[in-house]
């Protein structure tokens, strides 16, 4: 099976600091791949390099076997890669629909759109509603509410919905449950499973071992800027994973 996303030998240096030291990663269609690692292991750098937020110093990226290089987040998006950042990257003052379409607004048809640059606000709202319904996010039916009026879980849902909408192939989630309570976390995990069931491949960065072992199909372990190995919840225990993460055990 061709990986939907593949990275080979990614290196990222910041001056003399090495963020990534030759990392490889394969993401198969319709799987949830968790990325774990201690602080400073290069999880965030890896994700940024995969999604166009940072340009790797060297290394290769492939989407469906085709070589790609992302200069900015839009490039990754155009290739079907969407990211939910830890900071959520939503604009609080804009409403739910405006956030879903931020950076890819749809203009009206005809002269109004082409000459007067008028946005198709109504059309975007309708599509936003449809996408939210399809993802089973029933709570966000009023897409005209500013995002800052939403709870943490609802904001997370907006961010995930934005990533999952518009037919994306890969969704990358950076610590999606870090700021959430137990109940909201479970809802987000359920949303992640919904994505997988729709055939979307998911990369999940998390510190939360029980959650990782609950939803992940495979687990990529980062250590000191390198990949320390890839395991599955069946092949190894949580204790093993932590041991590999901290270097107490090697694969």
């Amino acid at each position: 099976m061709t990986p939907v996303l593949e990275a080979k030998n990614l290196v990222k240096t910041y001056g003399r600091v090495v963020g990534l030291d030759g990392v490889g990663l394969q993401l198969l269609p319709g799987e949830i791949l968790a990325v774990i690692g201690d602080n400073g292991a290069g999880k965030s750098t890896l994700i940024k390099c995969l999604t166009g937020a940072e340009i790797p110093t060297s290394g290769e990226l492939f989407v469906n076997g085709e070589p790609v290089s992302f200069k900015r987040p839009q490039d990754a998006r155009a290739a079907g890669l969407e990211t939910v950042y830890q900071t959520l990257a939503v604009s609080p003052a804009l409403d739910v629909a405006a956030n879903l379409f931020l950076g890819r607004e749809v203009r009206r048809k005809g002269v109004l759109g082409s000459v007067f640059r008028s946005l198709d606000v109504k059309g975007m709202r309708e599509r936003a509603r449809a996408e939210l319904t399809e993802l089973g996010i029933s709570t966000l039916q009023d897409v005209t509410v500013p995002v800052e009026n939403l709870s943490g879980g609802q904001r997370q849902a907006v961010a995930v919905a934005r990533a999952a909408a518009f037919g994306s192939k890969v969704v990358v989630l950076d610590e999606p449950t870090a700021a959430l309570g137990v109940r909201e976390s479970n809802q987000v995990l359920q949303l992640i499973r919904t994505l997988r069931d729709r055939g979307v491949a998911v990369i999940l960065i998390s510190h939360n071992m029980p959650q990782v072992f609950e939803v992940a199909d495979r687990i990529h372990i980062q250590r000191l800027g390198k990949c320390a190995g890839t395991i599955t919840p069946q092949s190894h225990s949580m204790t093993d994973a932590v041991a590999i993460m901290t270097g107490a055990q090697t694969l």
């Binding site: 604009s91 003052a93 931020l102 950076g103 890819r104 606000v121 609802q154």
Partner: protein, 335 residues
């Protein structure tokens, strides 16, 4: 998937509902202040509501009201432009002096002034986006630069009305609407408000201006080209500043390199009283028009009431502080 919202019960009180309303429609509070001020001053003095006086207020407001449009755009991106007044004087002097002393055809002189305004905006935008300097510092520097350039160019000389062609003072011509004399400058100001209101509300660029001011990094990660948006905002502001220069020449029937420096801060006053947040990302352009009108109405009304000009200044100061305090209160609920 289960309902996420049930865990968060609605805990609104009357006060928080007012706050939410003000948050959603930031132009409400300046609108209320303006209506009350007009009513009070109208009751205090019969002459206040006389057509001639209302006409005077609109003309007094036209320059700062137009300049404040440029200021609003910059402040919406969480920036500030301390150089708008200086850039306007520079553009005005280019228009007036090139037409009077250098014998450039009036229309071309206007185009040269427009180019000067846009160049001033481009310089600000370039420094903010390329050198990544805070807008406050950049425009504090360009304020001095534009002022010095203006004085170097003009030798400090004023171009008087008798030296100006009718094209340059066209913005001062008036026409009568329902017994009220409206100047061309006021009409241009209103047209610009309509245009910018449309652009901010209905185009992707407008949304990106808000998104950049709201949270720059979030906007970038969402695929908004932040630097491009910022640079374009300063360019558009430069064009509006140049148009204001034309209105100023018509309004004063002269072009002086020494008048109008107050406008740097007066434009910020209008924006702030109009409910636009200095932290960026929140506010509407109509609020700025209301803010400019409020300042105009207070100055005019207090003068008619026979109060010393210092009380006008004092009142405007109080208004600014109240407006920012209200903004803080509204923001606090959301953080």
């Amino acid at each position: 998937m289960t309902d996420l919202s049930s865990a968060f019960a609605d805990r609104s009180t009357p006060l928080s509902r007012v706050r939410d309303l003000l948050h959603r429609y930031p132009a409400i509070s300046p609108a209320v202040v303006l209506v009350v001020a007009v009513l009070v001053f109208g009751l205090l003095n019969d002459r206040f509501l006389a057509p001639a006086n209302l006409s005077l207020i609109t003309q007094q407001v036209a320059v700062v009201g137009t300049l404040a449009i440029a200021q609003t755009l910059v402040i919406l991106t969480a920036g500030i432009d301390l150089s708008v007044g200086a850039a306007m004087i520079l553009a005005a002097m280019v228009m007036a002096q090139s037409a009077s002393s250098s014998g450039v055809p009036p229309v071309l002189a206007l185009v040269l002034g427009l180019a000067a305004g846009i160049a001033a905006g481009a310089l600000n935008g370039l420094l903010v986006t390329r050198l990544k300097l805070p807008p406050f510092i950049v425009t504090l520097g360009t304020l001095s630069i534009f002022t010095a350039l203006t004085l170097l160019y003009t030798d400090g000389n004023t171009v008087r009305g008798s030296q100006l062609s009718s094209t340059l003072t066209f913005t001062g011509d008036t026409l009568s609407v329902l017994g009220i004399k409206i100047s061309v400058g006021v009409l241009i100001m209103l047209a610009l408000y309509v245009l910018i209101a449309y652009v901010l509300k209905r185009t992707a660029w407008g949304r990106h201006v808000y998104a950049v001011g709201d949270d720059k990094e979030a906007a970038r990660l969402s695929g908004v080209r932040v630097n491009r948006v910022l640079a374009s905002v300063y360019l558009v502001a430069g064009a509006i500043i140049a148009i204001t220069a034309w209105i100023q020449i018509g309004r004063t029937n002269a072009a002086s390199p020494n008048s109008g420096l107050d406008l740097n801060l007066d434009s910020i006053t209008a924006v702030v009283i109009g409910g636009t947040s200095l932290f960026g990302g929140r506010g509407v352009i109509w609020g700025t028009l209301l803010g400019a009108l409020i300042v105009g109405v207070f100055r005019n009304g207090l003068a008619l009431a026979g109060l010393d000009v210092l009380y006008q200044t004092l009142t405007v100061g109080v208004l600014v502080i109240v407006a920012v305090a209200v903004d803080q209160w509204i923001r606090k609920a959301k953080s």
